[in-house]
């Protein structure tokens, strides 16, 4: 690690994203100061099937919706929220 400050977040995937990635949870190691956008970019390198438009991802950190420039802390739970449009229409 040679002095490089790191943080680890737990990514949660649901519904269509879970099926495309083939997993419901994974850990992501990121440099200190990383944002949601940084986490999404790293995640999509490993699992590009999740979406082809990362700018439109809806993300919750510790179960609250946050913008993509939101800074992450070590131990955060980062959930990717697929479009929510259940129920009747």
């Amino acid at each position: 690690m040679a002095g490089v400050s790191q943080l680890k977040v737990e990514v949660r995937l649901f519904a269509s994203y879970r099926e495309r990635a083939g997993t419901a949870r994974l850990d992501l190691d990121l440099p200190d100061g990383s944002t949601i956008a940084d986490a999404a970019a790293k995640l999509l390198q490993a699992h590009p099937a999740i979406t082809n438009d990362p700018t439109r991802l809806v993300v919750a950190v510790n179960q609250e919706y946050q913008e993509h420039d939101h800074p992450l802390q070590d131990g955060d739970e980062v959930a990717l929220i697929p479009p929510v449009s259940g129920g009747s229409r």
Binding site: R12, F14, A15, S16, E19, A60, Q63, Y65, A79, I81, P82, P83, V84, S85, G86, G87, S88
Partner: protein, 143 residues
């Protein structure tokens, strides 16, 4: 009162919970499983939630109803797991002294739930399945 349940919902019991002598109006919405989408027969549905965020977001919707329409008596219940055709997936029951507030608050709640509550629905057809709201369909033949 907020509830997310793996078992059948009881709309009559939920409606009874919001009734009170000071209320002159009770509105109960039921979301039920439709037997077709875009002309294709639906066999059954599955609902999945991100908990406890979904519970918290449902409670926030009830708070918004309280703030905007002053309705104190609200019950919201959502079912998860496998649902058969005609099963009840969502109940929103609202009571208020006068009907306009109950109607408006109930409609707001149903619309808002679909925007902010992390619950997803998958429709199963004879020849495939799809997460509603997702842009890609997963055909059984191709997977």
């Amino acid at each position: 009162m907020i509830e997310i349940s793996d078992g059948p919902l009881d709309p009559e019991a939920l409606t009874a919970r919001v009734r009170r002598n000071s209320n002159g109006a009770v509105v109960t919405f039921l979301g039920t499983t439709r037997d077709s989408t875009d002309g294709r027969s639906v066999l059954h549905l599955e609902y999945e939630a991100y908990r406890p965020m979904a519970d918290r977001k449902l409670a926030e919707v009830a708070d918004e109803m309280r703030k905007r329409w002053g309705v104190e008596d609200v019950a919201i219940a959502h079912r998860l797991g496998r649902l058969e055709i005609a099963d009840v997936s969502l109940v929103v029951a609202v009571a208020s002294p006068h009907r306009a507030d109950a109607f408006a608050a109930c409609q707001y709640a149903v619309d808002r739930i679909k925007q902010v509550v992390p619950i997803w629905k998958k429709e199963f057809f004879q020849d495939g399945e799809i997460w509603v709201g997702s842009e890609r369909e997963h055909h059984l033949a191709g997977s």
